[in-house]
Amino acid sequence: MANPRAYHGPLEPAGECRWRIPKSYKRGMRVDGIIFADDRLIEQIRGDNAAEQVANVACLPGIQKASFAMPDIHWGYGFPIGGVAATDPAEGGVVSPGGVGYDINCGVRLIRSDLLLQQVAPRAKELVAQIFRDVPCGVGVGGSITFSPQELRRIMTDGSRYIVERGHGWPEDVPHTEASGAVAGADPDAVSKRALQRGSDQVGTLGAGNHFLEVQVVNEIYDAKAAAALGLGLSSVAFMIHCGSRGFGHQICDDYLKVMRGAARKYGFDLPDQQLCCAPVESDEGRRYLGAMRAAANYAWANRQLIMDLLRKAVAKVFASTPQDLGMGLVYDVAHNIAKIEDHKINGRIRSLCVHRKGATRAFPAGHPEVPEDYRDIGQPVLIPGDMGRYSFLLVGSESAMDETFGSVCHGAGRLMSRHQAREAVSGDEVRADLARKGIVALAKSWKGLAEEHSGAYKDVAQVVDVVERAGLARKVCRLRPLGVIKG
């Protein structure tokens, strides 16, 4: 896409689907930049400022190996969307709120069912309408439950486990959630009053923008053994939820960007972009941010758990059954905007690193202790939503991702058109008509917002996923196509 801020710097071929920005490109780079893309995607990537941002991230103190970017990379603020950066706290490595983003623990959750396409297709309209009624979504819409400050503290420390404990879920949902629904080390005292106010009535709400809830059907299987282990067969109907920590997380990011702007000056960091502001992981500012960020991450897992509970009940209502009888088990829930302290091998030695995934998904291999026991033979499920008119993918992580990208892969299709270009290209009514032609039932609070999310505004997620597979970072398990779309 024509953009005055296209990237004109170096991109050297560096092996299968890999392109290098050498650290000699610009002053301050401590490591190379590595972008995963094929010949076609790399041309699109050159079209905006994202590659420059990959180089900027390479300037962060304590960064290890390389500043990585996935094939769905696009222009963000500070960090590119689709970026992975790990820093070593023992070497003065930093944590940066910009490397997580405003929507802390934005992520994806996939729910299976025993329902088959032929049972759901004739009732898709009714089903989507019921879910749209029961799952709060859209700008300025609060949830059905308001949590007291005490209850919010439990959400901050115990995430989705607390929601399950309150009766909104099944015990087996917990191990199928990254970090079992709550990362340790959340610090509710590092969270501002304002974040608590914004978060008090937003648990169990989808929000707006690119967040969605989809009714999907498995229409292609690439790895039958893995699909069976995940409870997915051809023509089986599943549900995908994409959202994050809502205003609670946005406020925490904003609060700590201010703290970090001061910290970056205090520690004498010379950064190419203010939005990359950061502090050492081992500093008061770094520890407080990580404590607050973890509280928001846990809030997001609680949010998706409560949304799933509302979804299960809505589906059961339509089919006059129970979620249990419909087999609506949680396949997996994974974050794609988060920073985590993880063990990784650097030059043959295990080190504890701060891994930033900004629009990137954790993809741990088979056998890893953080992969749920019942999936340990196949690897961690990786959920990659596409655009609403085409398809989404489920992959599993691999050893090479662990060795090369700190166990990380892409997170979605990645935007191709700006919102303005997308609106110029089609209207909300045209998008609705196009989806109807494809047999997809769509309901949205904002049709303007929907128009900006149409298929053509995104890269083809199949291309993105193919690059990830060719690069050896993850393996495709199945493809899901939308039957129904709900957006805020």
């Binding site: 201010k258 939005q275 805020g488």
Partner: protein, 142 residues
Amino acid sequence: MGTFETFDHTADVGLRIEGDSLADLLETAARAVFSVVLLDLPEKVEVQRDVRVQLAPELEGLEELLVEWLQELLYHFETKRLVPLAFDFREKGPRALHARVGFGRFDPARHRTGLEVKAVTYHGLEVRQEASRWTARIILDV
């Protein structure tokens, strides 16, 4: 009376704002942000509130003041469903701001919505004054 237009940013929304005074710039920026959030505005002012912004010592100047001001208004929207419609600046810049703001009430059943603004970012943020012309450039995370 200030003016604004949007500019392209791949995933987000950029706003270019012009005003003939700092107060005009701040008011126009508020109108610009809420034109992204809502397609219909409430018809009348129902609540008057004092909105005060005081920059923390680690923040530097006008750019941050603009971000804080807009974040403050978004906070009123998100937690109280209030939409700013009328502005009376009692004190303004470079490190503090006090405005008497007239708000209308957002009704999800009546007012069509646009995009949810997660935050006003610091990325590519700019505020400039040339003679009596004030301009600003901000990128919203949506």
